[in-house]
């Protein structure tokens, strides 16, 4: 059981480095994918909603600390991400969920909600424009994140077929 928590944290370290060092090179007009959302979705679909909610909380805290941002913002948005992804957890369809287009849908949805909430929390209220917030801080980063989840689906489906 403990290994189930240690494993994503160990994967988190190189992913966080890529997120902070490499992914800024792929950002388009300040919109960047979030690899940690993919990690949370993947493990939530494997181990369930409660696990995902707690994992989101822990990884959010770690990312807040190492990125120098507002502590609590990623924490909350990733907690919601884990909770939301948990609704797609099905014990009998674990392999199907992480190896098919379902995973992309889950990552897109969670990416949209996570990015939207993070921006909502970290912005002063007088500068919020709800429409641009939904599009630029929600939908676009969410879809961009899902694009980066594509290799996982391809790799997992090949392994399944093999």
């Amino acid at each position: 059981m403990l290994w189930n928590f240690v494993k994503p944290i160990l994967i988190f370290i190189p992913l966080a480095v890529i997120q902070l060092v490499v992914l800024p090179l792929f950002s388009i007009d300040g919109i960047s994918p979030n690899l940690i959302v993919i990690l949370i979705c993947y493990f939530t679909l494997k181990f369930g909603q409660m696990y995902g909610t707690f994992l989101g909380f822990v990884l959010g805290l770690l990312l807040d600390l190492i990125s120098g941002g507002l502590i609590g913002s990623f924490m909350f948005s990733f907690t919601v991400t884990g909770f939301l992804a948990g609704y797609f957890f099905n014990e009998n369809k674990i392999e199907i969920n992480v190896a098919t287009y379902v995973f992309l849908i889950v990552v897109s949805l969670c990416g949209i909600v996570s990015s939207f909430l993070y921006t909502l929390i970290s912005s002063p209220y007088d500068r919020l424009n709800i429409l641009s917030l939904i599009l630029e801080a929600g939908i676009l980063p969410g879809l961009y994140t899902a694009f980066f989840a594509l290799p996982i689906v391809i790799f997992s489906s090949k392994r399944e077929l093999g």
Partner: protein, 276 residues
């Protein structure tokens, strides 16, 4: 009663956990300015920056290569500019010595590399590979050869956390150079704006924006950008101006920290602007 709570906890355990963790998140969010939380963040980003620095090394080879041509071009331009200014400088020094003025424009620059960035529409932050060992302290301005980039908000021995102009929590006192109009520049998530400038002023597209004399965080006359858009207001006396920064903040890799020590009392007052 106990059975009732037990039943609630068993049946809705996912919701109970979710609500509890969300409450903890918001509680921690409200404690961001507490010294203990700041210390924890400084410790965490300072240590992780070491890992980022190692990962950044192979990438930096490509980055330097990319900016080399730009730097050479800039050097040539500066060389021409230096020649022109040298003569004026000698004359200026003679006049200053006659008036017994002190030299006030000799600010030491510390060069640094950006080693990690948090790309986000609202919270522009990055970590640089110079810290308190080089004499960097909180509140020092960060710039590059084109203009202002941000301000140091946290330091460890070897690294510093920089809040860029693309951060909703940074407000900068600025001046439109041609008209000497002062205002406050802030990031709204999409663009840099100077709010509430009287629409009767003859502000033109292309007017230069620099740091204001009123700011003690930033020394005056540091280039920031140009006016790129003027808001059209059919009614009302005030309008907003959009500023396009000279420095491409999202892609910047090499920066300079301006090593100035502002007045502590005034700095304390102005640093309140940085707080949310």
């Amino acid at each position: 009663m106990i059975n009732f709570f037990r039943r609630i906890l068993t049946e809705f355990k996912e919701y109970v956990l979710f609500v509890s963790l969300s409450i903890i998140s918001f509680f921690i969010l409200s404690l961001n300015e507490k010294p203990a939380i700041k210390k924890l963040r400084t410790f965490a980003f300072g240590n992780f920056a070491l890992v980022n620095q190692v990962a950044n090394y192979p990438l930096s080879i490509f980055k330097y290569d990319y900016s080399l041509r730009e730097l050479e071009k800039e050097n040539a331009k500066l060389m021409l500019e230096v020649n022109r200014l040298r003569k004026l400088s000698v004359e200026n020094e003679n006049l200053r010595s006659m008036l017994q003025f002190r030299d006030t424009c000799n600010f030491p620059l510390i060069s640094a590399d950006v080693i990690s960035k948090l790309v986000n529409k609202m919270q522009g932050n990055f970590v640089i590979n110079r810290g308190s060992n080089e004499g960097i302290t909180i509140g020092m301005p960060v710039l590059n050869s084109k203009g202002l980039i941000g301000i140091v908000i946290d330091t460890t021995k070897d690294f510093s956390l920089v809040r860029t102009l693309y951060n909703v929590n940074l407000n900068v006192a600025v001046r439109i150079e041609r008209l000497n109009i002062d205002g406050v520049l802030s990031w709204d998530g999409n663009k840099l704006i100077i709010k509430n400038i009287p629409s009767t002023y003859d502000v033109r597209i292309g007017d230069r924006v620099v740091t204001s004399d009123f700011s003690t965080i930033f020394p005056p006359k540091i280039s920031i950008g140009i006016i790129s858009e003027r808001e059209q207001v059919p009614v009302g006396l005030l309008h907003n101006l959009t500023v396009k920064p000279f420095a491409d903040i999202n892609t910047v890799d090499n920066v300079f920290v301006l090593k100035i020590v502002p007045s502590k009392q005034i700095n304390h007052l102005e640093m309140n602007l940085l707080k949310k």
